[in-house]
Each structure stands twice: as structure tokens, then as C-alpha cells.
């Protein structure tokens, strides 16, 4: 088994007095792609925020790249290589595409620039354009590209398909997964398009009402999709 990059045990977190997620266990290993599934409000985004130190954890523990995750450590975790692409994509409308790239530490940038632009050739033509003027798909490409440029050890992507046509995601995801396996970083996806996400993943964890309800290999879930549908729709067919 390859190296464990992130280890979450019994994570409970939320807003105010009411926990939004409870008892989340999750392990991410080098080169592995894992998808977090679940209906809206299941706590997927909350899980990502808790894992990256953007939301206080009320019980349980998370170790990411050897650093104990706590609220207020988001800057430190990001520098160590735990990188989250948030659901608002985290691009800056006033900055140009190339300014986004220059925000990344220069040493890492030089090493990886050519490779990232290879993966997103469309961006190479847009370097002078401000992010606010890009299309949704281009913004998402920029968000992924700047995160890859930073040389992630753990890459988390929240709802890549939000407001995008599925075809765009279908084109981007396999590239990210391939890069992860090649470079040995871990990927944690939160995705609505179950089939697309499962097709590139090794494993999936389904959340419902803030609790894990199903965890299995992507291949097994693809083979029997009714299990995922049940978790989504409840016992409709009953």
C-alpha cells in the first residue's frame, strides 16, 4: 500500500451548535482518487472545509501531510501542499490568468508551468485576460490549473461541474486523475455527476444527512448503481 497522506478519524463539524457532519472517517493515499457523493445538504462541502482547516472540528482528528488540521491553519496547510479548489472556484475576477499563475511560488511554478499548460492548452491563449471575463468552463480550468501549478500533495475539488455542462467535466477529470497517479498525489472529489466521477475514481464515500452511509470501490458501485441511487433517492422503489 502506498503512503497515507491524509487520515481523518471520527470528524464532527458544523456551524453554530448543530453539527453538519458527524463521524466521518477517511484515508487518502498517494496516487489515489476518491469521490465524495451524496445529495445536497449531505455535508460534502462541510467535509472539505473541515479537512482543510477552514472550519473548526468539534470532535475527531485529521492529519494532513503530517500536520494536525485545526481551524486557522489553512494558510500553513496550503503551503504544505493540501490544496482545495472551492465550490466558488476560488478565482479572482480582477486578476488576469497569468497573474493567477504568478501568485504561485516561483520555484514550483517554473518546474511545472509547461506541463500544466500542456494539460490546459486553452488557457495558454488567454493569459492576458481577466478571470472575470472568462467563461465558466475556462474559470474552472484556471482554478484547476493554478492548483496543479502549486504542486499539490493532496488536491480537493468541490463540485467541479457546478453550472458547467457535463462534457467539460468529462474532459477535465481523466487528465487530473492520470496526473495524480503519475505524480503520486491524492485527489478528493465532490461531484454531482455520479457516473463521471466514479469512472475516474478508485473509491467513493456516500454521505447522507452528514453521516457516511456507504463506502466501496468505484468499480463495485458502478457495477451495481442501484446502491447509490438508493442512497440518493431514499427508498423510492419501496
Amino acid at each position: 500500500m502506498s503512503e497515507v497522506l491524509l487520515q481523518a478519524t471520527g470528524v464532527t463539524a458544523g456551524y453554530g451548535l448543530v453539527p453538519a457532519i458527524q463521524g466521518i472517517d477517511l484515508t487518502l493515499r498517494a496516487g489515489e482518487v476518491v469521490t465524495l457523493l451524496g445529495p445536497n445538504g449531505a455535508g460534502k462541502t462541510t467535509t472539505l472545509l473541515a479537512l482543510t482547516g477552514l472550519l473548526p472540528i468539534s470532535s475527531g482528528s485529521v492529519q494532513a501531510l503530517g500536520i494536525p488540521v485545526k481551524a486557522g491553519r489553512a494558510t500553513k496547510l496550503s503551503r504544505a501542499g493540501t490544496i482545495l479548489v472551492p465550490d466558488d472556484r476560488g478565482v479572482f475576477p480582477d486578476l488576469t490568468v497569468s497573474e493567477h499563475f504568478r501568485l504561485v511560488d516561483s520555484r514550483r511554478r517554473r518546474e511545472r508551468m509547461a506541463r500544466v499548460l500542456d494539460a490546459f492548452p486553452a488557457l495558454a491563449k488567454l493569459t492576458g485576460r481577466r478571470a472575470g471575463l472568462l467563461s465558466g468552463g475556462e474559470q474552472q480550468m484556471l482554478a484547476i490549473a493554478k492548483s496543479l501549478l502549486a504542486g499539490p500533495r493532496i488536491l480537493m475539488v468541490d463540485e467541479m461541474s457546478l453550472g458547467l455542462a457535463p462534457i467539460i467535466v468529462q474532459e477535465m477529470l481523466p487528465g487530473i486523475a492520470a496526473l495524480a497517479r503519475e505524480e503520486g498525489f491524492a485527489v478528493l472529489l465532490v461531484e454531482q455527476h455520479v457516473a463521471i466521477a466514479l469512472s475516474v475514481s478508485d473509491r467513493a464515500l456516500v454521505l447522507s444527512q452528514g453521516r457516511p452511509v456507504l463506502e466501496d470501490s468505484a468499480a463495485a458501485l458502478l457495477a451495481d448503481p442501484s446502491r447509490v441511487e438508493t442512497a440518493y433517492f431514499g427508498a423510492v422503489s419501496a
Binding site: V18, S78, I83, V91, P93, D94, L95, L103, S106, K146
Partner: protein, 671 residues
């Protein structure tokens, strides 16, 4: 033509100051989301340090001083002045701005104003209130140039060039350096900047220091022309705020160009008002009307397009306990107050009476800010307007006493409605800018206008009703009980009106608008009309207070209604608790010339210490309890009790809810 050009050149010295202050404001806003009302006061500090090093060979620190054997010379003084500026910027950021970075806008505005009041008071204590002359150091011996009938001092060229170059450096920092780019990035999406490994606090500290430096350099350049004065330099932030709005709170280039142009324009205007064709009544303070008009036009043109900072705001405004009228306790409070007034004499009775009057003024803040959630810094100008009309009526028109107060307060309502118009389009800190600018314009254009308000003041006759004299003075008695009791009755009526409104449908609508304008509209509330009503009502309260202030002084004096008095009353209203009439009473006690002021004044010479202590306390209150003392305490208690009780997550929410219900039942707010 050459005369106009000549005055334009004269205006450059203030123009570069506006440009530099506006650039500083933009830097701070982009890095912290806070409008730094203290920009002028912060920049002024370095100027004073330089001036006193050269004049007295003393290095003044915020606390304590270092003596030099002789004049440390230009370069060392300059370096020490800039170092002081860095120190002040860092202190202000880490002690005042950083603690409120996620607080509601109201707390941020209050902190920034508190820093301004504190630094101004500190400068008054340390450096005195007189204008300090600063020797020229730029091209001091060079001859002036004459170009086409316009005399140009070489120093004018130099300081313009220096400020333009520094602005360009600031622009380059934001444009080309990683830190600068990250500052811009964090301004639009703070969370995403954190996710890229940047610390917004560090970026903000750097931006504050750079802002302080460019503004301090500009003060050093301008001071030899104007001399240093703690009031005028603190208030130079007002035209700079106008410039910042024109630059859409983001463009360094526009701010630099427009700032310099504004200085030149004001100077030409200063020449024009001396012309015989310029109406005499409009000659005073017209330079302060210009920023107001610019601000109004800029906000009407693109108020809703100004960038908001995408930071994570989590805290909410102070909670409000709906007041109820309890006849027994109300009567007791009233009788006790009447007895205290009867038992006290002279300065004590005057202090207590002033506190009562200031309670009404503080109530106007409670209505507009505490209930309606609009940050208004102009309430004292409403009071002044009403007092001003009273002083005119008192001599010319024979309207009997209680009615004349209502009529005067209604004129304040009219002014209030005009000032409220921008509030329909903007909110938060932008409204604070408009109202501060308006307050200064009204102060300079009306109250300090000698053709409207003679230097000796407009006398206000004693109020009389049914042949009874309620004047403050009669013979040797300078603080009559009849006057104080009259004030008590008026204040009691106003508090009663406040409680009725606050506990009624309108009060609830105010709170709904304050909490969430969208949700209020979806509940069927006409948000615009509700805001106008709130502003009108608060102006009426301020107007009544203005009349009482006028009666208590026997004349209208502009010094009762300055911008700083207004800010101090906002400060004490916030300290006392901006959401309740009880808070307004506390504010009245703490207000300038009120009871506490009288007590302190009786035992110590207060002077500026009062202002300094008020400023520091205000910073502390806003930081420790940005959501209000009462609200915070209530929720801490609920939280602690909930955690001592059942531990199941579901049950916790239940318990907290129940405790809140109990807290509601136990509310002891009464009249």
C-alpha cells in the same frame, strides 16, 4: 486667466495631500475592507514627530519621549518620522483593525472612527491645539519661477513629483509584486487567497504600513505651507474620502490625478468667493460643500457598483430587547430624576440636565443605527439645524414654546430626508462616508457661516408657557430648576415615544430591514419607505435635542454641533449600548458636558483627556464585544448552560432555544 492658474498652483500642496490620503484609504480598504477614517490622523503623527524633532530636538513616542542634545538634522528626523509612521500603522492594525476583521461593518466603522478620535486627542495632548509651523526643507533657497504671469515655487514642483512617483510605486506594488497581487486577490475572495497559502493579516499589515508611509510623506510635504493643526489634518480625510469614491475605491491612478485636481479646484474656489459678485451668505465653508457634492454624485452614479470585499463576515449586529412600558418603574425613575435635579445646583444640575438632553440625541442614534442599522454620522448636524432655526425664530416669529420646538425639529426632518436619499441606494461604510461629509459641509457652510451665525452667536429667548418662564438663567441663577424640569418632561415624552415606536410594528420593521433587506422585502415591508421613516424619526429626535441644547446655552453656538461632538456622541452611544433607550441614558451620562464629564472636570482638568479616554474605551468596546455587550452576554450564558446540560447534539439546540425563551421572559427592560 493667470490668476486662476496661480491659485490652482497654490492648491497643489493640499492636492497632493488629498491624493496621498486617498491612495492610503484605497490600500487599507483593499487589504482590510475597512474605511480608515483615521487616515489623516495617522499621517499627521509622523508630521508632528518631524516638526518637534526639528523645533525642540525631542522625539515624541505615543507614550514617553526621547531628548536629543541638539537638532538631529533633516535626514535623521525624516527617518525617525517615517519610523514613527510605521509604528503607528502597525499598532493601529494589530490593536484595532485586525481584531474586528470579521466583525459587522458597524463595529469596523466605529473602530476606525475611535482610532481617529484617539489619535486626534493624543495629538492635542502631546503637541497642543495651536497650529505648528514647519520650516521648508525642499528647495528652501531656490528662486521662484515665473511662467506666463504664474509664480511657481520649485518646492511645489518637487512635492507634486514626489507624491506622483510614490503613487506610481504603490500602483506597481499592487500590479507586479506577488504580495501586491495577493492583496488584490484577497480583496475579492479572501478564502481563496488563504487557500493559495497567503495570510490576509500579513498582507493587510504591509498595506497599512505602505498607506501610512505615503500619507506621512505627503503631510511632511504639505506642512510647511499649511502648518500642522490637529483638527484640520484629521479632517483632511473627508475630501480624501470623496477622492477615493471617485476612484471607485480601487484605482490609484484616478485617485492621484483627481486628488491633485480637487486641491487646485478648492484653491480657485477660495479665490472666487472673495469676488464681489459671489453671494456673501455662500462664502463660508463652500470648499467643504464640494466634497459633499462629489460624494453624492459619485455614489448616485456608481454607488451600487463599488466593490465590496469578499471576506467572511460571521458576526451579527447587537441583539435588541423589545422595550415595554411599566408604569410603576417609569414613575419611580421620573420622580427620582426630578428629585435629583431639585437637590443639585449650578454645575451639577447643569451637567445632569445636559445628560438628559444628550439622551435624546443618543436616542436618535439608537433609532437610525441601533434599530434601522444605518450608520449615520450626521445626527448632530440635524440637531444643529433645528437649533439654528430656533435661534432665527426666537427673534422674528412668535410661535409659542412647545410648538416652536416641534416646528424646528420638523425642519431637521426635512434635512434628514435629503441626507437619507443616498441611504436608499447604499449602506454600511459608504453611508458613513456620505453622512460624515454632509456633517462637515453643514458645519462649515451653515454653523460657521458668520453671515448666518454671527460670531457672538444668535440669542435664543427663554421658553415660556402659560406665563411661566422656563429659561435656564434668571439673575444670578445660571441653572434654574424650572428649566431642568421642563427638560425632564420633554425627555420623558421622547423616551415614551421611542418605546412606543420601538415596540410597535414600525420598530419591528426597522429591525427587519437592519437584519436582512431581502428578507424584509419578502415579508411585504417597503424597505425604502421604512428607511426614510427611520431617518425622519431620528432627525426629529435630534432636532428636539438641538432645541434643548440651544435653550440650555441661551444662544446657538457652532461649537455645540461640530463633527467631533457628533462622533463623540456616536462613541458614547455605542459604548452605552446602541440598541436600547437605557443605553441612550448611559450615553447621555457619558456625553461631553454631561454628568460624568462634570464629575471628572470637578476633580481633574479634563480637556483632551476626556476625548482620549472616550476614544480608547470605544476601541476596546468594539473589539471585545463587537456584537454589543447585552447581546454577547446573553448568548454566552445560553451557550455555557447548554453545554452543562444534556450533551446530545440535537438536545443542545433545544436547550439553547429554551434558554433563549427564558431569557425573553426574564427581560427586565422597563420604563
Amino acid at each position: 486667466m493667470s490668476t486662476y492658474l496661480q491659485f490652482a498652483v497654490f492648491g497643489l500642496s493640499l492636492g497632493v495631500l488629498y491624493a496621498a490620503l486617498a491612495n492610503g484609504l484605497i490600500m487599507v480598504y483593499r487589504a482590510t475592507g475597512i474605511i480608515n477614517f483615521a487616515m489623516g490622523a495617522m499621517a499627521m503623527w509622523g508630521g508632528y514627530v518631524y516638526a518637534f524633532l526639528r523645533k525642540e530636538s525631542v522625539l515624541y513616542l505615543p507614550v514617553g519621549q526621547v531628548y536629543f542634545p541638539d537638532d538631529p538634522g533633516f535626514w535623521l528626523s525624516l527617518i525617525l518620522a517615517l519610523a514613527s509612521s510605521v509604528l503607528v500603522s502597525a499598532l493601529v492594525y494589530f490593536l484595532a483593525f485586525r481584531p474586528v476583521r470579521q466583525a459587522p461593518v458597524l463595529a469596523q466603522v466605529v473602530v476606525s472612527i475611535a482610532v481617529m478620535l484617539t489619535l486626534q486627542a493624543l495629538a492635542l495632548i502631546r503637541f497642543g491645539g495651536d497650529t505648528v509651523r514647519v520650516d521648508r526643507f525642499l528647495a528652501a533657497d531656490a528662486d521662484a519661477w515665473k511662467i506666463g504671469g504664474v509664480t511657481i515655487e520649485p518646492q511645489t514642483v518637487w512635492f507634486t513629483v514626489i507624491v506622483v512617483v510614490l503613487s506610481a510605486l504603490l500602483w506597481a506594488y499592487l500590479r507586479f509584486t506577488r504580495q501586491g497581487m495577493a492583496t488584490r486577490a484577497a480583496a475579492s475572495n479572501e478564502r481563496a487567497a488563504i487557500l493559495m497559502g497567503y495570510s490576509p493579516s500579513r498582507l493587510a499589515a504591509i498595506a497599512m504600513i505602505l498607506a501610512g508611509l505615503i500619507a506621512t510623506v505627503a503631510v511632511l510635504l504639505t506642512a510647511p505651507t499649511t502648518g500642522l493643526n490637529p483638527v484640520s489634518y484629521t479632517l483632511y480625510v473627508v475630501p480624501a474620502l470623496a477622492v477615493m469614491l471617485v476612484a471607485k475605491m480601487s484605482s490609484i491612478g484616478v485617485a492621484t490625478g483627481f486628488g491633485i485636481a480637487l486641491g487646485a479646484f478648492q484653491s480657485i474656489l477660495a479665490y472666487l468667493v472673495t469676488q464681489s459678485w459671489w453671494p456673501e451668505w455662500a462664502a463660508s465653508g463652500v470648499d467643504q460643500v464640494v466634497p459633499l457634492m462629489i460624494v453624492m454624485i459619485a455614489l448616485l452614479a456608481f454607488g451600487n457598483k463599488l466593490p465590496a470585499r469578499g471576506s467572511l463576515q460571521t458576526m451579527r449586529l447587537p441583539d435588541v430587547d423589545i422595550p415595554r412600558i411599566r408604569p410603576v418603574s417609569a414613575t419611580v425613575v421620573f420622580v427620582v430624576a426630578a428629585a435629583l435635579l431639585a437637590l443639585s445646583q449650578d454645575e451639577w444640575r447643569f451637567g445632569l440636565t445636559t445628560s438628559l438632553i444628550m439622551t435624546v440625541l443618543a436616542l436618535s442614534y439608537v433609532i437610525v443605527t441601533g434599530y434601522l442599522g444605518q450608520i449615520s454620522l450626521v445626527q448632530v448636524a440635524f440637531a444643529g439645524t433645528s437649533g439654528f432655526v430656533l435661534s432665527k425664530f426666537g427673534q422674528d416669529v412668535g410661535i409659542p414654546f412647545p410648538i416652536v420646538v416641534v416646528v424646528c425639529a420638523l425642519t431637521a426632518v426635512v434635512v434628514g430626508l435629503v441626507v437619507a436619499l443616498p441611504a436608499l441606494r447604499i449602506r454600511g461604510a459608504q453611508l458613513a462616508i456620505v453622512t460624515l461629509t454632509a456633517a462637515l459641509a453643514i458645519e462649515r457652510f451653515v454653523f460657521n457661516n458668520y453671515s448666518l451665525t454671527p460670531a457672538e452667536g444668535n440669542n435664543i429667548g427663554a421658553p415660556q408657557l402659560f406665563g411661566l418662564d422656563f429659561g435656564i438663567r434668571q439673575g444670578p441663577d445660571v441653572s434654574r430648576l424650572a428649566f431642568s424640569w421642563m427638560v425632564l418632561v420633554v425627555v420623558a415624552v421622547m423616551v415614551l415615544v421611542f418605546v412606543r415606536v420601538a415596540s410597535g410594528d414600525l420598530g419591528r420593521a426597522f429591525l427587519a430591514v437592519r437584519a436582512n433587506e431581502r428578507a424584509a422585502a419578502s415579508a411585504g415591508i417597503d424597505v425604502r419607505m421604512t428607511k426614510m421613516t427611520g431617518f425622519a424619526l431620528s432627525a426629529f429626535f435630534a432636532g428636539v435635542a438641538g432645541c434643548l441644547i440651544g435653550y440650555s446655552h441661551g444662544q446657538l453656538s457652532a461649537s455645540s454641533f461640530t463633527v467631533f461632538v457628533g462622533l463623540q456622541i456616536l462613541a458614547v452611544a455605542y459604548l452605552g449600548g446602541i440598541t436600547s433607550w437605557g443605553g441612550a441614558v448611559v450615553a447621555g451620562m457619558l456625553a461631553p458636558l454631561g454628568l460624568v464629564h462634570t464629575v471628572i472636570d470637578h476633580f481633574w482638568t479634563t480637556g483632551n483627556t476626556y476625548a482620549l479616554v472616550a476614544g480608547l474605551l470605544l476601541i476596546l468596546t468594539a473589539i471585545l464585544n463587537p456584537s454589543g455587550i447585552a447581546g454577547a452576554t446573553k448568548h454566552q450564558i445560553a451557550f455555557v448552560r447548554a453545554h452543562r446540560g444534556r450533551r446530545q447534539p440535537g438536545a443542545v439546540a433545544e436547550t439553547a432555544a429554551e434558554i433563549d425563551a427564558n431569557a425573553n421572559r426574564e427581560r427586565t427592560t422597563s420604563v
